[in-house]
């Protein structure tokens, strides 16, 4: 009997050795990115509104202009449009298209395609639509093509930076109307088909999206700037960061997208892998409900801002992957000037508390959502607040539950973050300072009309110097009176194999700018 068992064992071992594989590095003309692709919903530029999918969609659809980073500032450079001008009214924009442009399939790309694509965004009314309808005030009638190479749009008078960053945004990707119409089902304007197909003129074509397995991009040989060096880009679904780390170290993937800060730090000193970073397009904040009890008093809000140990959060919780930036404007944005007035000063904070009549402190509920990072941040804040007598009870909630209460001004204190919708100061000033748009300032019951007026005026100001100054004034006012203690601006980071060249340029300014044509091997 044992003899038979041994025979079976040998047979199984032989079978196993047959299927055993050896791993090779990825091909030279292919880039394999390991990422959790769970967030992918669609690859339609008129529908996509999530950060990672947007970065990919940006590489499939060409836009009139491109938003890039130069000298650490976002600037706009020509794209499909070689030039543009704005009429003296500040509302009518004319874009002049290059001659001889073609889509990936060889169809000519002319002004009618741009008009179709922009109008399609407004007709679909999906997540990114408000950027066109609300921020720029566009209507279907306000987008026209006087001739094959001219696109005219009439806005609500939004500042030039807002208009240009929007025209360079993912939602402004130009689609081939012929292909889209061919795949229309029940008047969906090709929405279902474009979920996992593409009809663009960007550097890449979406070849395949095999859900929870991979997204495959192939180089567009007809790309107007010339076909990219990397011929195939594969976004491989690897939900677990530890797996991404192992595959990266072994060379089975070129880039690991979702490493934890600890894992990234563990790669320091590696000879095969580097860490590439860029300032993130978001803010992490502590919000106080200015309509609730002690937080009604500006001195208490200031005391909280002086109680927080910003360096400890940046160095210990974020292990250095964060920037001390205490204003709502991220680094590199129009209007950004380094301005960090707060630091931990317990004595000053205590004095402010006493002045406000809260020398003995008070009890408060500190809410955050159930992620490891936020939980740790909340614990640090709780400890900091205890030093000035504020007894915070941490309440962890699911993000959706937390935001539902927050939207109704139902929280006393919150630790959360805000991602940028488009790279202009207005995209941050509005939520953080203008209660009328019913976003963060309103959720924190900070109904300050001076801040709201200044935000609205700055959004309409077309003189850039005056607009710049307005944001300085707003920031200084907001620092004093606002209900937010800004903890930091996160730093995005990736683990990148050393064979991959120029990934830092490709990802500089992610997620606003993500250009895979920069990458080589």
């Amino acid at each position: 009997m044992f003899k038979k068992m041994y025979l079976w064992t040998i047979l199984i071992v032989l079978l196993l050795s047959l299927v055993c594989i050896t791993n090779a590095t990825t091909p030279k003309d292919a880039l394999v990115i390991g990422a959790n692709t769970e967030i992918f919903i669609t690859n339609d530029p008129g529908v996509s509104f999530e950060v990672l999918p947007n970065a990919i969609v940006q590489n499939i659809y060409a836009k009139l202009v491109s938003v890039v980073v130069k000298d650490k500032q976002f600037i706009t450079i020509p794209g499909l449009a070689e030039s543009w001008e704005v009429a003296p009214d500040g509302k009518t924009w004319t874009f002049h298209l290059r001659k001889g442009l073609v889509f990936a399939d060889g169809d000519p790309l002319k002004a009618d395609a741009v008009v179709y694509s922009f109008q399609r965004v407004l007709k679909l009314q999906k997540s990114p639509c408000w950027l066109f309808s609300d921020v720029l005030g566009l209507t279907e009638e306000s987008i026209t093509a006087p001739d094959d190479y001219t696109v005219k749009i009439v806005t609500n008078g939004a500042p030039s930076n807002v208009v240009l960053t929007m025209v360079g945004n993912t939602l402004s990707g130009v689609l081939n109307p012929r292909i889209v119409k061919e795949h229309e089902i029940d008047g969906d304007m090709g929405q279902a088909w474009l979920t996992d197909h593409s009809a663009g003129a960007g550097p890449y074509v979406l070849e395949e999206w095999d859900r929870k397995i991979k997204v495959v991009l192939k180089a567009n040989e007809n790309y107007w700037k010339g076909a990219p060096e990397i011929k195939t880009v594969i976004l491989q679904d690897i939900p677990e960061p530890t797996d991404q780390l192992l595959l990266l170290k072994k060379g089975d993937i070129d880039i690991a997208w979702d490493l934890t800060a600890e894992q990234a730090n563990s790669l320091k000193g590696s000879t095969d892998v580097s860490i590439v970073t860029t300032p993130g397009q978001s803010d992490e904040y502590v919000g106080m409900n200015a309509g609730w009890g002690p937080f009604k008093d500006v001195r208490v809000r200031q005391a909280v801002k002086y109680a927080i140990d910003y360096n400890a959060i940046i160095d210990k919780v974020m292990t250095g992957f964060a920037i001390n930036n205490q204003q709502f404007l991220p680094v590199g944005y129009f209007g950004y000037v380094e301005n960090n007035p707060y630091y931990q000063d317990i004595e000053k904070a205590k004095a402010l508390m006493a002045e406000a009549g809260y020398a003995d402190g008070f009890d408060v509920e500190l809410v955050t959502n159930t992620t490891e990072r936020r939980e740790t941040e909340a614990v640090v804040i709780q400890e900091n607040l205890a030093k000035i007598g504020i007894r915070a009870t941490i309440n962890l909630m699911q993000a959706s539950q937390m935001y539902a209460k927050f939207r109704e001004q139902g929280l006393q204190m919150i630790v959360a973050g805000w991602g940028v919708d488009y790279p202009d100061a207005d995209a941050l000033a509005n939520p953080f300072a203008n209660h009328r748009v019913k976003q963060l300032a309103w959720r924190c019951a900070w109904l300050d009309d001076y801040a709201a007026d200044l935000t609205e005026a700055a959004a309409k100001e077309i003189n850039e110097d005056r607009r710049f100054q307005m944001y300085q004034d707003l920031t200084n006012y907001w620092h004093i009176y606002g209900p937010f203690a800004m903890m930091y601006q996160p730093i995005e980071f990736w683990g990148v194999r050393n064979e991959v060249k120029n990934y830092d340029k490709a990802a500089e300014g992610y997620s606003v700018h993500f250009d895979l044509t920069e990458v080589g091997k």
């Binding site: 299927v19 929870k212 679904d237 170290k249 935001y403 939207r407 976003q439």
Partner: protein, 335 residues
Amino acid sequence: MKLGAYILKRIFLMVIVMFGVATIVFFITHVIPADPVGAILGGNAPIERVDAMRRQLGLDKPITLQFIDYIKGIVHADFGISLKSSRPVLKDIINYFPATIELAIASMIFAVLVGVVLGVFSAIYRNKSIDHFSRVFSILGVSMPVFWLGLLLLLLFYYHLDLLPGGGRNSLFIFPPRITGLLLLDSIIAGDWTAFWDGLSHIILPAFVLGYASAASIARIMRASMLDILKQDFIRTAKSKGLSKRVVIYRHALKNALIPVVTIIGLSFGSLLSGAVLTETIFSWPGLGRYIVNALLVLDYPAVTGGTLFIAFIYSLANLVVDISYAVLDPRMRV
């Protein structure tokens, strides 16, 4: 009761179970104090957009009306549209289910082979080294966290020994044929042996990790059952007839000792289907478990209810088959 009537009764009971599951899952997902629309739109979305989407999805209707609509849909095999993917839930389930069932079957094969062999040998060689090994193997199997075991095996067999791949159903630059969605089966049908061996190498670790706990349970039950049978009179009779040890064990003891194991196999299959979430995450396996859990995280009601109902259906079906096979084998069960 005749066999036909018995089967009909079991199917009727299964329908009641399915209705119960649908009701419970629906109300659990709808009464929890969380907002699915907010989860999908994210923290930036203004309240107007949240309200508009809630109306658009019919989530502002009274819960009873939503429930009636939901049950009507199920009767027509329509689980609704996923709030997240905007695709019919059934289409998503059909997309992800083959990966899950393939992994579950592979794990089951592993669990039954290892569990039965270990169980039988540890019973025959009671308190010998193989019995001790089986005991340690079983205790480890039921006590080791799947997540930890999976990562450890990846670290050893993929990272250090370079023997097995690091996750997924197949290598990136190998393109298996697609017929049924079961990668190994499809590769055999198409005669694509490169894809087959590649697929097989990918399924070894996840099947081991997922099936380990079941193998351990089967080994313990098999051992106990075998020991019980070996004490029976008919075994003594068989031995005294002069039959060889092999014939006594395989022909007489094993057949009888396997009956309780069949029950465990039916139950284990259900847990392999529903317990695959962690294994699927560690091994980047594109299965239904991950689909349901991720749907749960964004409160995608239709996907959660549809997915859960589907798993419950498969589970009930597996147990129905076990019950019917019992009834066929043992008429007393029909009473």
